[in-house]
Symmetry: C2
Subunit: 161 residues, 2 copies
């Protein structure tokens, strides 16, 4: 499983992310514009979930202002392409750590201490969830599964300070 622990500089894959995004867009005949690249870079370049306004501020410079609305549009695009996830409980965004199988669900593991967000597969959860939904007579279209807690590294650091 990929680690976004936020303790060491976990930006090794920012470059990979950009390469993957470029490939995805090319394959789908979509534009991977400079702005979209920058927004994805900003999201991928930090170990923790970023708010849209944080990203806007980060991309802005004395000579150049990036408005939040532009960031939102880029994020919408990136989410449609599955390159970025939105964390509903934080109003924040993270890069997608890997290619998900189509229809596969994701669990977001949000560390309340270091703020890093990891992804886990829902395979083991899906069975029970499907049964529960069926019993309730409910037909799902989209699920959100977010767990807050302490990641392994933060737990260790608390034990041995």
């Amino acid at each position: 499983m990929h680690r976004h622990d936020g303790h060491d500089a976990c930006r090794t894959d920012a470059h990979d992310m950009l390469a993957r995004a470029e490939a995805v867009c090319r394959a789908r005949g979509l534009q991977f514009t400079p702005l979209r690249r920058e927004v994805l870079g900003a999201v991928a370049d930090s170990g923790k979930a970023q708010g849209a306004y944080d990203i806007a501020e980060r991309l802005s410079a004395p000579g150049r202002r990036v408005a939040p609305v532009s960031v939102y549009r880029a994020l919408d695009f990136l989410m449609e392409q599955g390159l970025v996830h939105r964390i509903a409980s934080r109003n924040a965004f993270i890069p997608c750590a890997y290619d998900h199988a189509p229809g596969e669900g994701v669990i977001f593991l949000i560390c309340r201490t270091c703020g890093a967000v990891d992804e886990a597969s829902t395979q083991e959860v899906e069975d029970g969830l499907e049964r529960t939904l069926e019993r309730a007579g409910f037909t799902p279209t989209h699920s959100i599964l977010e767990v807050e807690g302490d990641c392994g590294l933060c737990r260790e650091q608390k034990r041995t300070p």
Copy 2:
């Protein structure tokens, strides 16, 4: 399972909710003030999730304005007491349909058609979730599980219009 289908007027339990809330507060030595009662009533009195501003507007009248901040405070209190749930994906609030076992998780089933929100237990889901979290070395403190889709009644109505 309790039905909050929103098709018929599902307010039968609004009165029960208030009675239960009163009992809970008395048992815990907390104040169930008129404002808190009204806010809980407004949340319980509608089949669908209510935004804080909706509630504020609903409680306001020509001679009396209830500010959103007051509603938020009441909602915070009600959530702490487990009488109201927050739906993160909608920024909205629903009454808690039943007494949950301590530590028991909840799944929110959100109908995208009628807007009703039902609750289901996570018992069948919990096993897989625990295993997944353990494998990831993650210690959970709080989980959010929200599923969007079509409830049984809305699905029927779509089939036979």
